[in-house]
């Protein structure tokens, strides 16, 4: 496997950086691969994986993953009835659905990315060592499958670490670990942060005296996976906080801990002061935006899994499982994975029929859970995708969904004074291109030379038109009657469609009297829209995608202008 199999994505990131910079009005454009998250963690609209929608969450419901209900709540019993083969097969299937790939190999390669050769890539898997022998915690077979996948990619078991920096999880997992035994979790255990570079102080706005695993803070971990048990969460003052759940985000209260006291995360557990509604869990959100989690390039935390084979409805975060729920949940973006995990499992009493979430938990979840989305720029009205299936009814994997791309755009009307009102390609409606042609062009735009259209360059990456550079030629070749010639773009990857606003016609300002008014140069926004990474396959895009598109559009315009300048310089030299 190539050390850097994602050159195309790198191109995308480069272009995205331009878009972001342009959108922010920065004068200095950086074309290196250091996207914003490498220094600052979460950026509004950021896509965790350019090939997987943040809003896409897969849930597998399979009663065969447990051969029987565990006889009791001990850790041994929690694991004894897990069918590792079924769990592994389901995780493969979930990865395929998540990444929309028809083979598990392709799916995992899409999910896991590294800027380094795999052999030197370091991976951290978060688990939960809290509580005692009967506490519900992620079953070992999930980690085994993940390490099998990672090792198959070329990651060294010595570079895979299973950790809980707050509580020592080794007592639970050590017997299941081996770097050489393929029947076990091929990884090393970190007792708290011992194999994670120790602790390093971090400054947070919403909590004081916090440290975190140094290798995450310093960017020495390339891939982070959060695997959480499915548990309700009561808390301070007898209220419920954190959305009444502790899942993939709250799991990182074991990545960030109190600096001065071992095994404590008190400072992160905000006090409710018995208020209703409970206050926003700002520290929870802050650490999950932190560069330790969402920094890196590619983004460090690449996969979030909820082990809901067994779940805690009434027993709270430290308690034993009290429901057999037979589910696994997978996504790339923790806040939305957790939102769905709570809404679709913990708060569903038809599933939690062993012991339901207490009423106060339900009430408080109604206040806090939507904040899981809004804190990251999403909302409940977005086209969130919860795809739950059973193994005997696996949804078809639409690896090449139809993209309508831009529809025919019409050039400007013939006019002796140049094109006047060419209309651009209409919005793309998303979908993945069958071929990496991306959005090719839209017509319209302004031009002082008239002409038909620029032909876009978009969609050159391996993932389809993730980012169009827009029209490449600074000058249209001349009007040809005002009809569009290149409007039938095939669409960009997962596009929500370009915004049409900048394609609504050329408004030639000083045409020299071309033969046909035609459209002017195309700005790139149709193509950019076509390439926005946030689009989804169901509803065709989202607010975030539009935001991305808008940002990228600016960037692409800037890029196009730069090219013109370069060409101009070239031609003049």
């Amino acid at each position: 496997m190539s050390a850097n199999p994602h050159a195309g994505r790198r191109n995308f990131l480069k272009t995205a950086a331009v878009g972001a910079a342009g959108a922010m009005g920065l004068s200095a454009l950086k074309f290196d691969a250091s996207y914003a998250q490498s220094t600052g963690g979460w950026v509004a609209g950021m896509q965790i994986n350019p090939d997987i929608d943040n809003k896409r969450v897969i849930c597998c419901h399979d009663t065969k993953m447990l051969t029987a209900k565990p006889a009791n709540t001990t850790w041994a019993s929690q694991n004894a009835n897990v069918d590792a083969a079924a769990v592994g097969a389901n995780l493969d299937q979930m990865a395929m659905l998540l990444a929309r790939k028809t083979t598990a190999t392709d799916a995992w390669k899409t999910i896991f990315r590294s800027s380094k050769p795999w052999a030197s890539t370091r991976v951290a898997m978060k688990t939960n060592g809290i509580g005692g022998n009967t506490t519900n915690r992620p079953r070992w077979t999930i980690y085994k499958k993940l390490t099998d996948v990672l090792v198959s990619l070329g990651v060294s078991p010595a570079n895979i670490v299973l950790y809980d920096a707050c509580d020592d999880a080794s007592v639970y997992y050590n017997s299941y670990l081996s770097q050489t035994d393929a029947t076990k979790i091929r990884a090393v255990m970190s007792v708290r942060a011992a194999n994670m570079g120790g602790f390093k102080a971090v400054t947070l706005t919403n909590a004081t005296g916090i440290s975190a695993a140094a290798d995450l803070v310093d960017g020495n971990i390339d891939i982070l996976i959060s695997v959480a048990a499915c548990k309700s969460h009561n808390g301070t003052g007898g209220h419920y906080n954190y959305g009444s759940c502790t899942l993939c985000m709250k799991n990182h209260f074991g990545t960030f801990t109190d600096a001065t006291k071992a095994q404590h995360s008190d400072n992160l557990h905000v006090g409710n002061s018995a208020t209703t509604p409970p206050p926003p869990p700002l520290a929870l959100f802050e650490i999950n935006k932190h560069s330790a989690i969402l920094g890196g390039n590619p983004v460090r935390q690449q996969l979030c899994i909820i082990d809901a084979l067994l779940s805690n409805g009434a027993s709270g975060p430290g308690g034993a499982w009290d429901n057999r729920t037979d589910r696994l949940v997978m996504g790339t973006f923790g806040p939305i994975v957790d939102y769905f995990g709570a809404k679709k499992i913990l708060l569903d009493n038809t599933i939690m029929n062993g012991a339901a979430m207490p009423a106060l938990g339900v009430t408080n979840a109604a206040t806090i859970l939507p904040q899981f989305l809004t804190a990251f720029g999403y909302s409940e009205t977005d086209a969130l995708q919860w795809i739950e299936y059973t193994p005997d009814a696996v949804p078809a994997i639409d690896a090449t969904p139809t993209s309508t791309g831009g529809t025919t755009g019409t050039g400007g009307t013939p006019s002796s004074t140049g094109g006047t009102s060419g209309s651009g390609g209409a919005a793309r409606t998303g979908g993945k291109p069958a071929a990496p042609t991306g959005g090719t062009s839209a017509t319209g735009g302004t031009s002082d030379t008239g002409g038909t259209s620029d032909s876009g360059e978009g969609g050159t990456t391996d993932t389809g038109g993730v980012m169009s550079d827009g029209g490449s030629s600074a000058m249209a070749a001349g009007g040809s009657g005002g009809t569009a010639t290149t409007a039938a773009a095939t669409g960009g990857t997962k596009s929500t469609g370009g915004t049409t606003t900048s394609h609504t016609g050329g408004t030639s300002v000083s045409s020299s009297g071309g033969t046909g008014g035609g459209s002017g140069k195309t700005t790139a926004s149709t193509d950019v829209g076509g390439g926005s990474p946030g689009g989804c396959d169901v509803a065709g895009g989202s607010r975030s995608a539009s935001r991305w598109g808008a940002m990228a559009a600016v960037g692409a315009v800037v890029a196009a202008k730069l090219r013109r300048l370069v060409k101009s310089d070239d031609s003049s030299s």
Partner: protein, 194 residues
């Protein structure tokens, strides 16, 4: 100093134990339990093998623990908040093994006053919608919540609050086979609480 305190504390414990055996009923006492440090508190309430017939101490690492209020978060995560806010000072937990696959995790908490212990009990009772009757105990003193694998019983005696979490009994929603077991542990706690 620490040893002297321990001795003093244990002397109090002995005194109260002696007094406690004189009065045994199904109601909560209203007195105050002596202030013990976490280690002594744990030792006091720790079950010996077969103290409840057929139940022995788990040998799994970490099966017996004590916590101050500040430390409870290490055991039950943010769930510690409700205990600490309601006045929990120290507590202990212990896992015991019964006839396979039956197990129990017992918790004893010092809330320093009977009112606080009752407040914790009332909150937990309400929060978990506990309604399973514990034989020989009034529902205002001890009650249980059935789960899909056992029973979570709670009780308060004196200034102390207790949890007895039984597992390995199968679904208890219709028939509570664990309900007669819970009072065996609560009886010991009650005796030690006076």
């Amino acid at each position: 100093m620490e040893i002297r305190n321990m001795k003093t504390g244990l002397a109090f414990v002995g005194l109260f134990l002696g007094l406690g055996t004189l009065g045994c009923g199904s109601s909560a006492s209203g007195g105050s339990f002596p202030t013990l440090n976490a280690a002594d508190f744990g030792t006091h309430f720790k079950f010996a093998d077969n103290q409840v017939s057929g139940w022995t101490q788990s040998t799994f690492p970490g099966s017996f623990n004590t916590y101050t209020g500040d430390e409870l978060v290490t055991a039950v995560d943010g769930g510690a908040g409700v205990y600490v806010d309601k006045g929990m000072r120290v507590c202990m937990s212990q896992d015991l093994m019964g006839t396979d696959p039956q197990i129990v995790t017992v918790w004893a908490y010092d809330f320093t006053t009977a009112a606080k212990a009752k407040d914790m009990f009332d909150w937990k009772k309400s929060d978990s919608s506990a309604s399973a009757t514990i034989p020989n105990y009034d529902g205002s003193v001890a009650i249980g919540a059935a789960t899909s694998s056992g029973l979570s019983a709670i009780a308060h005696f004196n200034s102390l609050y207790f949890e007895v979490m039984l597992s390995g009994y199968g679904d208890q929603k219709t028939t509570c086979s664990a309900c007669p077991v819970a009072p065996k542990f609560l009886d010991v706690f009650k005796t030690k609480s006076n």
